[in-house]
């Protein structure tokens, strides 16, 4: 058999083997068997010496060509087999991507604190800052300096808890007004969020609840400015076109005083159980700082005017989340608390 034929059948042989091979090891063996130092191609080429230089050149070229061809076939096959092996490993690593995750789940917010922070931040954005005071207060700050004299029926508006140290649990956040004005002269623009206490417990009253108080004192402030601030606040919290109504009312520490209603957010003003058929919800109390309060903190009511407002946080949280019994807010049953995951 001449060399050309031998080379050509060698190539066919190798090609067939490569086609059949199904793993990288066997493929390697083929490479060694045909292209290795002691491989079949080398063996054939050893006989080249017997040939004439012309023949040698011709056969040599053919042999190199066959070598390249086999090498390419092996490389192609190798790529295919590697892909296949990787795919097998990946399949082994397949996991059920719908499995429950393995990480700490974020905790739940308390609806009251959430509402309190949200409202406070609304006022901070308007340029107010937060002031605070203790929850155990002197009657002087909680009542007297706020123009609520002893034995005045106005004290009945707020049923007070009395303590064995002669002090009271503050019945509103208003004493923070006094504390602020005693320490700081106008201009003043504060809000005071915090816990307050009244001796009252039923589905709509809790002996402890939260309020936020606002106070602004400067020259030239009028009732219209009060309306402006509260309009922006209420529209931020309840939506752009919420109807707002100012009703004259009475608080000992403001004059004139008003109560502010918004259109019922449940029925849209048509009248329902939540608004007791009136179409309005009472949201906050406010007014122009009473001259007697200014006198108590040594601010001249002839030079300065100011306004104050206060609102109950629970009421707003209950409206927002349609909670019907205030006591639910403080029992901390996780079945309740966990309903408020993801709020502010």
């Amino acid at each position: 058999m001449d060399l050309k034929q031998e080379l050509s059948s060698l190539k066919n042989e190798a090609e067939n083997l490569i086609k059949k091979v199904s793993d990288l090891n066997s493929l390697n063996q083929i490479r060694v068997e045909y292209l290795g130092k002691k491989g079949k191609l080398k063996n054939i080429l050893k006989t080249l010496g017997k040939l004439s230089p012309e023949e040698r050149k011709e056969i040599g070229q053919i042999a190199n060509k066959i070598k390249d061809e086999i090498e390419n076939l092996i490389k192609e096959k190798e790529t295919i087999l590697k892909e296949k092996a990787l795919e097998e490993t990946l399949v082994k690593e397949k996991i059920d991507i719908t499995l429950p995750p393995h990480w700490i789940e974020v905790g739940s917010s308390h609806p009251v604190i959430s509402t309190l922070i949200e409202i406070t931040e609304t006022f901070l954005e308007m340029g107010f800052y937060v002031a605070e005071g203790p929850e155990i207060e002197d009657e002087k700050y909680n009542f007297d300096m706020l123009n609520i004299p002893k034995d005045h029926p106005a004290r009945d508006m707020q049923d007070t808890f009395f303590l064995n140290n002669g002090k009271v649990l503050r019945t509103h956040t208003s004493p923070v007004q006094i504390r602020t004005m005693l320490k700081q002269k106008p201009p003043i623009a504060i809000v005071a969020p915090g816990r307050v206490y009244r001796k009252d417990a039923d589905p709509t009253h809790s002996p402890m609840f939260h309020q936020i108080e606002g106070l602004m004192v400067d020259k030239h402030l009028t009732f219209r400015d009060l309306k402006g601030i509260l309009k922006i606040f209420l529209e931020t919290v309840f939506g752009r076109n919420i109807p707002i109504r100012f009703r004259p009312s009475y608080f000992p520490f403001t004059e004139p005083s008003a109560e502010v209603d918004i259109g019922c957010t449940v029925c849209g003003g048509k009248g329902c159980r939540v608004c007791k058929g009136t179409g309005w919800l009472e949201i906050l109390g406010c007014g122009m700082v009473d001259p007697n309060v200014f006198k108590a903190v040594d601010i001249d009511p002839e030079i300065y005017t100011g306004f104050a407002f206060g609102l109950g946080i629970e009421r707003i949280a209950m409206l927002k989340y349609r909670i019907t019994d205030i006591r639910l807010l403080f029992t901390n049953n996780m079945k309740f608390n966990h309903q408020f995951k993801g709020i502010r």
């Binding site: 816990r195 417990a201 400015d225 100012f246 009312s249 004059e255 049953n333 996780m334």
Partner: protein
Amino acid sequence: MIAPYSWIKEFLDIDIPAEKVAEKLNETGIETVVHKFGEYIPNIETVKIIDVKKHPEKDKLYICTVSDGESEYQVITGADNIKKGYVVILAKVGAVIKGREIKPVKFGSYESQGMLLSLEELGLEENSEGIFLLGTDVPVGKDANDILSLGKDYLFEIEITPNRGDALSIRGLSREIGAIFGIERKEPLPLISIFEEENIGIEILTDKVWRYRGVVVKGIEVKESPFDIKLKLIKSGQKPINNIVDITNYILLQEGQPLHAFDLDKIKGKVIIRHSNDGEKITTLDGEEVELKPTDIVISDEEKAIAIAGVIGGENTKIDENTKNILLEAAVFDNVSVRKTAKRLAISTESSYRFERGVDIENLANAQDKALELIIKVAGGKIVGEKDIYIKPYQPKIITLKEKTIDRILGIPILKEEARDILNRLEIKTEISDDGVVSTIPAFRAFDLEREVDLVEEVGRIKGFDNLTPEFPEISLQSFKRSEEFSFEVRARDFFKDNGLTEVVNYTFVGEGIYDLLDLPVPEIKIENYLLKTQSVMRDNLAVSLIGTLQENVKFQQKDLSIFEISSVFFKDFEEIRVGILVSGKYIQGYNYKKGDLLFSTTEEWNFLKLKGIVESYFKSVGLYNTDYISSKLKYLHPYQSADIFINGIKVGYIGKIHPKKAEILEIPKNTFIAELKLRYVPRNIDEDNLKEGYLFTLFKEKDNITFSELPKYPAVKRDLAFIIDENLEVDKLISAVKESNELIEDVKLFDVYFMEDGKKSVAMSVVFRHKERSLSDKEINEVVEGLVEKLKERFTELTLRM
């Protein structure tokens, strides 16, 4: 109070729908809800009871024969207040009462051809006892809807603010409504004749009565009131009693002047108004015996107290069916005195309610005369004597309301002429001056209108606050301040929430029981008038509340809890804002998942180190690093799994496992962990600063700024070292000692601790060495390690290096 519109219309020519009136009252400051008085009911008729006999077969039932003037009906009833001769309301066959149609019904062998109605069945009262007896002066055979004005009259249910005692009457409300709509109020004058035949002995021994007018009427007949008086009282939510008592109530409602009628023959000698004797007792009209104090004012005769001034009358001089002669009292008592007495005795009456809020002292005689006019008309008799002691005659205050002030407070210019018109409508007399409106404050507003600003409010509210357009104020720039305390708290809250803890809000007062269970001294601050014993003590830590929360949830089979609370605790002179954390059981209710080489085990249970991890991570989140943990002495914590937490050597809180014995007593899971951190100091004294040592906020405010360090230029070398030390030596001490031993040591990371049998433990760590200016050679590091071991051996004598 409840004011029938029909009664107001007696004093105002007004034809405005009741809803509109209510809306306007609300808008001008008197909270008003309007109801219809009853609803139309078909087939109800007035009938007279002409015969009553017991049902021969059925106990407790009566057979009545009633007549409408034309026909007679047989009606069976169970009510035992029925009386022959009285007019009652019969629901005839076909009437619908409370959704039920009336049909002929047999009780035994007797048929009932209808039903006699109570006020409850008419929808006019919550709970009635017995049939509604209209009286004997009512026509029969009439449609009862017309007689009662069912569905035709309106009731204003009003609630006043404490400054508006003047509106607590038909008179006052008419004045208010008149002012709103610009309608003048009518004032019919009473016509009475007083025969000065007898001298009345009245002696006043206190300054707590401002005016006292006593009138004696003799020869009256006590009986039921005429139907129109009864109906007005019923509409106003009151129960008719007898003509004399009804008239005093009637005038109180109409005029706002409390009146009291004594049975004159039960009074011994003269009437004395005086302070009570200490321990003096009186049985009130309610039949309750109360004990009085010298601060209380009583009306007495020469032997005994006969009434508590301004609050309630005494049983001993009560009007009864045999009363013939009366003393009618009209007085104004000191409002503070009445309030103190009423509050202490916990008796609130229509009288005390009005006295506390101020009664029109100038209208006293007019109101009383109206009562006398009615008494003579209804009960007969003759006025035989009168004595009016007016100790503190009303001195009206004169206030000038300036245009400038209105503008300064309300923010709109209102001309003095307009202001004057508004004040005049409110029955305030005025004169225009250069300055403004000179106003003479009438007695009925004496308690309320004291200053110029009070008149600004009157003008503002009658004009309507809704007529003031909102404006955004110019806030002076210097008022801007940062709210760091608030932000610090919000940040802590967000941190713990984001790290898997749920926010709770507990009452800040607790019971003493939990303190006993935890072996803690009960805090000193207590609520004297607490609602519940379990809410009587101001807590001085958050643990008592958080443990309560856990107990509450355990009751609902919820034992795995991860919660926190940011709130106040209370001490003698200050308060603290703390964050309390309580965790128990699992925080991931996980599962196992195994597939070939893949293995997930996702269940996670709380332990000491995990809670410590959250706490430490929180400190780092606010830039606080230098922490120390020193065994805690808190008795409710596990003695060997608890620590007080220090930052820069200052105690800021504690952490630990609940003592297993306490967990058992408290019926909470054994693996419960708790931590409390002191966030902020809240002083009670106004002059004290809130930046006090021992609080995280203070540390946060005072910490150094973080400054950048150059990145390393030369490579680090890592060596793993294992030491064998006494098992009681704390790992942290060893690590710190290693870190401090040489400045080339950049970092130390613990990777293995195991306890051996001979009271020792092996502690292995990776130590990272680095020089700032050059690479380190092996030889150098070996020397450093040798030196390090020597130093450690000096400090911890039993230490050896494991090779």
